[in-house]
Assembly symmetry: C2
Homo-oligomer: 350 residues x 2
């Protein structure tokens, strides 16, 4: 499988140009060229960057996504081709499904995927720590088993409409999350002072890293997969409608967060690639408005992107983690169009 590149434009004074079928990234005397066929997306997290329109049009021609994000990773804009691939039929069914059993089944599947991956990730880490730290391993394994019990209760939920059942599913999800993040806190170095999960705006090291990973890497990938499959990113099932909230992207992200992001970021510490005290930006970087230091961002990107390319087995098929983001989006469509009678969440073993 050929590895596709993401071009990250994350530095002051960078220019993205084009030379025939190549992207040229210039900074001062430095120059890198990328064959368009090898590029999968362009993510720009610095505002001190300039882009040539011919480079943007090359990206559009080749279906290469161009994302603009803040330093903390939150995407604020996407370059959208005016001609969308994917049929409007999928979106028709997506809206209809909200009112029938399909919406409930999808929401339940997303929660099941999330919870089972949480349990399996804890058990996997437990297995790896068994020799070194048996009591931690036992605690992690037990936490995984507790989450399995929550999973069973999700499994037992029945319904014919998501609006009636959202609160129940959300409560079960929150119950599993409490167990999960308490266990993760025990795995992480104490220097991170991780006291549980915080979403937007978090300025403590590990939450800032998680937010960056979810927003700058997982979100654009799922967004693209959802749009390419012809779905409306704003019309989710588990996540309730709220103006401006890309609920379906958030929905589908649930089954990928742990295996793509959490696992990669935890291993940056267990492999000593970065140290707790090096995570947050200081000095000039902090003044630029960055929460995370540039070197940490680079380490995270390396880890997350190679994780996305990692081959895994799911549903009897071998493929990169990334390829399953796309196939799961298409599976949502197949389920919505009733081509397939089931939707199986993406779950990895341990």
């Amino acid at each position: 499988m050929s590895r596709l590149t993401k071009i990250f434009l994350d530095d002051f004074g960078v220019f993205l140009g084009r030379k025939r079928n190549r992207f040229v990234v210039k900074k001062g005397e430095e120059k890198h060229e990328f064959l368009a066929d090898d590029v999968e997306s362009i993510i720009c997290t610095s505002k001190a960057v300039a882009l040539s329109v011919s480079a943007l049009s090359l990206a559009v021609d080749r279906n290469i996504q161009v994302i603009f994000a803040t330093y903390s990773g939150r995407p604020y804009a996407v370059l959208m081709p005016t001609v969308m691939t994917g049929s409007v039929r999928a979106r028709r069914e997506q809206f209809l499904a909200y009112m029938d059993e399909r919406g409930f089944i999808l929401a339940k599947s997303f929660v099941k995927g999330k919870i089972k991956n949480q349990a399996n990730l804890l058990k996997l880490i437990a297995k790896n720590r068994k020799q070194r730290d048996p009591s931690l391993a036992y605690f992690l394994y037990r936490s995984g088993r507790l989450i399995d019990e929550v999973y069973e209760r999700v499994e037992d939920e029945e319904g014919s409409n998501i609006d009636d059942k959202r609160l129940d599913l959300m409560n079960l999800e929150a119950e599993a999350a409490r167990i999960y993040w308490r266990a993760i806190a025990r795995i992480l170095p104490e220097g991170l002072k991780f006291n549980g999960r915080e979403t937007r705006g978090a300025r403590d090291p590990f939450n800032a890293m998680l937010n960056f990973g979810y927003q700058a890497v997982l979100f654009p990938e799922v967004w693209k997969a959802v749009c390419y499959a012809g779905l409306d990113p704003y019309a989710g099932f588990l996540h309730a409608d709220r103006p401006g909230k890309p609920s379906l992207v958030l929905d589908l992200m649930e089954e990928f967060r742990q295996q793509v992001v959490d696992r990669s970021l935890i291993s940056l510490f267990s492999k000593n690639v970065i140290k707790p005290e090096d995570v947050l930006a200081v000095g000039v970087e902090a003044e630029e408005g960055r929460v995370l230091g540039k070197r940490v961002v680079q380490s995270m990107l390396d880890a997350l992107l190679s994780r996305l390319d990692r081959a895994v087995m799911f549903g009897g098929r071998r493929g990169s983690l990334k390829s399953f983001i796309y196939s799961q989006s298409r599976n949502v469509v197949r389920f919505l169009l009733r081509v397939s009678s089931r939707y199986e969440p993406f779950i990895l073993g341990w």
Copy 2:
């Protein structure tokens, strides 16, 4: 009413930068600044342009649309904020409406708007030519009356589902179009050799001008209005679903084509602003891939943009033509959400 600016980036070697809350357009020594509050959209029809990301982020912050189009005016990409204004509720109803009477009523209204504006534009021109050319005026007036008869037949159409009635509506629309364009051909200078309407790819002067006007000016305006109202641009009623086709934008454009574009372009000839022989690009410009000469494009833009700002009366309210594009999009939403029991197409008198 304050006039808002569109920034057109249509020239070789232009750079769009930012200085605090201003856009800065530079070409060599030339430099223009635009206060962001005065800018409504940025349309880039040249590939030899560079943009700073901080300018793009200013545009996103201020809800200023950024459109990338070919020389002939066809938009190929739009910068989309990831947080959309407008509620997903409108899109839910839009998809549901396809299957009930609302879809038929909207499609019929779009055709009614288009046809009545065609008739009224011919009658208006007839009125203006009465002294100078009575026999042409009579022909134009008669053509307008013939279209009125087609309008009555559209009015008589009844249905409860657009799929059943699309062909009937389309046939009536085509009948009116034949009468309309035959009359327009008589108004235009003979040097244009206009033999009827051709859409994409037309290389004869007037069709190329119409395509530019519809695509580069009307389309982005309606696209923006539709998206801002929270509607899915790809899910139309009159225009059938086809992957990648922005059918709802095409639908809503119908009631604005004549009064915004056709009328402005015809008057460029009747006021002798441009001559038939000056329309098509020649020499270097043609080699760059342009169909239309730069000076003609500039004249068209001036005419079309000031036309959009022109105050008119509709529905008992005075506003710019452009403001009615936005209010008609919101009226579609009000009708879809059943806040309003009717949808009145935008029609101007003569």
